[in-house]
């Protein structure tokens, strides 16, 4: 009676169904290697294609403009590079037609490099304001060996955007990426994160998705050597008519690697739709993989929809840990009863519980002002849905 209703429950797996193998997922830099999706494909079946505003079968002109402000401390090199820069083809392949389209069509890429052994004294902030139109982007954040950095990407404004953000975490380096999708209501954003983590490197990502009409974000992690570690955290608040889709893919292709995936969302309002796909592959012949993934959804109103699909594929017997959990539910009326029995009015009790639900996740953001800002935005969104 005291456990929250969205607490993951133990469950058994039937043997009747053989899951779709993510190993079959191919990638390519070339858009023409992908057929135009019709919506029935495994990777597209949750995404409302007509709301992609043509991204999946792009024929027009990429006419969009972004305003980009990069605030980087000493030790960071910021470059604009052309398509021919070799570094842009090292971090992994786009996994679907839209991100391949972005890679095929971007004109100029932004590359941030943190020099070897440099621990940045303050975070790098990239403010990206989309100013309408359609645009394809390519970013690369490169941490050389033993570098340490926090990078905050704040995205606002409107437009139709598709892109790839490549992240290369060098040996022993530590990168924390905070990506905030605070788009205006009609924006479309389809982005893939390609992280490659070298020996003993740590990649942490914290994704905060609040805005947009359709956001489809696919964080992908591959390991280049032993001891590499990745933590993917995500928070989303999906309101009326919004589609927020997060698809993580962690490929434990080498031994002694670690991953954690933790995504938590709240949904409120008519046709709010959240999708979480958590793919974890533990490769053949590997040993000592430690992985766990979790997704929780708080459905604040009845007219919302959640699709939550954890998907583990294990091809070895030598696993240190591999777990997954997924649960969706409403606010626990016993939590509310307890707070209200102490005189706290219902609305405030709801606010306290929801705030509490997100707090642990928000506290993973290593910058206090940003934590406050995001909690403020969550509360604002909450208030607008009451």
């Amino acid at each position: 009676m005291t456990s929250p209703s969205t607490e993951p429950k133990a469950h058994s797996h039937g043997l009747g169904e053989i899951p779709f193998s993510k190993l079959a997922t191919h990638g390519s830099f070339d858009v023409n290697d992908f057929p135009v999706p019709n919506g029935r494909e495994e990777e597209w079946r949750f995404t409302p294609l007509r709301r992609l505003k043509g991204l999946h079968d792009f024929k027009g002109e990429a006419d969009g403009v972004d305003r980009l402000d990069v605030d980087a401390p000493e030790g960071v090199t910021v470059e604009k590079v052309g398509r021919d820069d070799e570094r842009l083809r090292t971090a992994g392949l786009p996994a679907d037609r839209v991100t391949a389209q972005a890679h095929s069509a971007f004109e100029e890429a932004t590359v941030l490099t943190v020099a070897k052994g440099t621990a940045l004294e303050r975070p790098v902030t990239i403010e990206r304001q989309a100013q309408g139109g359609t645009r394809f982007d390519q970013y690369l954040i490169e941490l050389e060996p033993m570098a340490e950095a926090v990078v905050v990407l704040k995205q606002t404004g409107t437009g139709v955007r598709a892109g790839n953000l490549d992240l290369h975490v060098g040996e022993g380096a530590r990168l924390t990426l905070v990506s905030v999708q605070d788009w205006e209501q009609d924006a479309v954003d389809v982005t893939q994160h390609n992280a490659q983590v070298e020996k003993d490197g740590t990649f942490k990502s914290i994704v905060v998705t609040l805005g947009g009409d359709l956001v489809r974000l696919s964080p992908k992690v591959a390991y280049k050597d032993r001891g590499a570690n990745a933590e993917l955290h995500g928070l989303y608040f999906t309101g009326d008519g919004q589609h927020h889709e997060h698809r993580s893919l962690i490929d434990h292709n080498l031994s002694s690697t670690r991953s954690r995936v933790e995504y938590k969302g709240a949904l409120s309002g008519k046709d709010a739709h959240a999708v979480w796909i958590g793919d974890v592959i533990i490769g053949e012949g590997t040993s000592g993989t430690d992985s766990y993934e979790l997704n929780r959804n708080l459905q604040l109103t009845d007219d919302t929809r959640v699709d939550s699909v954890p998907n583990l594929e294990i091809f070895t017997g030598e696993v240190e840990g591999a777990g997954h959990a997924s649960a969706s539910g409403r606010l626990d009326d016993i939590h509310l009863f307890y707070l209200r029995s102490r005189g706290i009015p219902e609305e405030e009790a709801r606010r306290l519980v929801i705030r509490g639900y997100f707090l642990e996740l928000i506290n993973r953001i290593p910058i206090e002002e940003l934590r406050d800002e995001i909690m403020g935005k969550v509360e604002q969104k909450l208030a607008s849905h009451e």
Binding site: R340, R342, G343, G356, Y357, E360
Partner: protein
């Protein structure tokens, strides 16, 4: 001077969609300011249901009767209004609310019940003092509400809330269960402070007479079969201690 009256109260526990079971079968009890009523009875007699039904727990539904505080029907009030009207329930199994800090929760609660936000410095001093009285480490203020607390720690925090909210009437549901001798003493002192400082009326629900050595009852009631089966003075507790509830269980069955 507050008068708290329970009149002809009947209530069901809601088990499933269409399943319910009557637990309270006509309860009558009057508690005046400063009085302490021990409600004793065998397990399953409906003591806790009485407490939860009065507080407005969503798993219970009142089917008949009324509960009045100074003539106002508590049952017409929302759960939070009941608390603001001066009714407090110390729960047998306090709820864990992850991510909501104890200090934030207490401040919200005190603000709601007192009708104005206490000054931050003043409140922090008051809270620290109240925690110290109950031998609660100050570190608990930063933790989630009851999150990972032991049974005894939860009970102390229920009494902490009692002392901060200063209710007119408190229903203490097996506050003594699961406490060792030292903790029982600390918790009892807290209850006694509330009785002395603001003449709190108290319904002390318990299975055992142990707590009655620390919190002296004015009246003792035996609760069996969903109603009060017998009432008496403090000496009734002694009789129950030596004879047990067998007589009432049989009578109820």
């Amino acid at each position: 001077m507050t008068k708290f009256e329970i009149r002809g109260l009947r209530a069901d526990v809601l088990i499933g969609e269409d399943e319910r079971q009557e637990i309270l079968k006509g309860v009558d009890l009057t508690v005046n300011s400063g009085e302490t009523h021990a409600i004793m009875g065998p397990n399953g007699s409906g003591k806790s249901t009485l407490a939860y039904a009065i507080a407005g727990h969503p798993r219970y539904e009142i089917t008949e009767g009324e509960v009045l505080i100074d003539g106002e029907n508590v049952l017409d009030m929302e759960v939070d209004e009941r608390a603001r009207a001066g009714v407090f329930l110390a729960m047998q199994y306090p709820v864990e609310v992850p991510g909501v800090s104890m200090s934030n929760f207490l401040r919200s609660s005190v603000t709601a019940v007192r009708g104005e936000a206490p000054k931050l410095r003043q409140f922090s001093k008051e809270l620290q003092g109240a925690m110290k009285n109950l031998s609660i480490d100050s570190g608990f203020a930063a933790r989630g509400v009851n999150e990972g607390f032991s049974g005894g720690e939860k009970k102390r925090h229920e009494i902490l809330q009692l002392e901060l909210l200063k209710p007119k009437v408190a229903i203490l549901d097996e506050t003594d269960s699961g406490l060792d001798v030292d903790a029982l003493k600390i918790v009892s002192e807290g209850i006694n402070r509330s009785k002395e400082t603001h003449q709190m009326g108290t319904m002390l629900i318990t299975h055992y007479t142990r707590i009655l050595n620390h919190v002296k009852p004015d009246f003792v009631h035996v609760f069996a079969g969903g109603r009060i089966a017998e009432s008496g003075g403090p000496d009734l507790a002694d009789t129950l201690e030596s004879e047990g509830y067998e007589r009432f269980v049989k009578a109820g069955a």
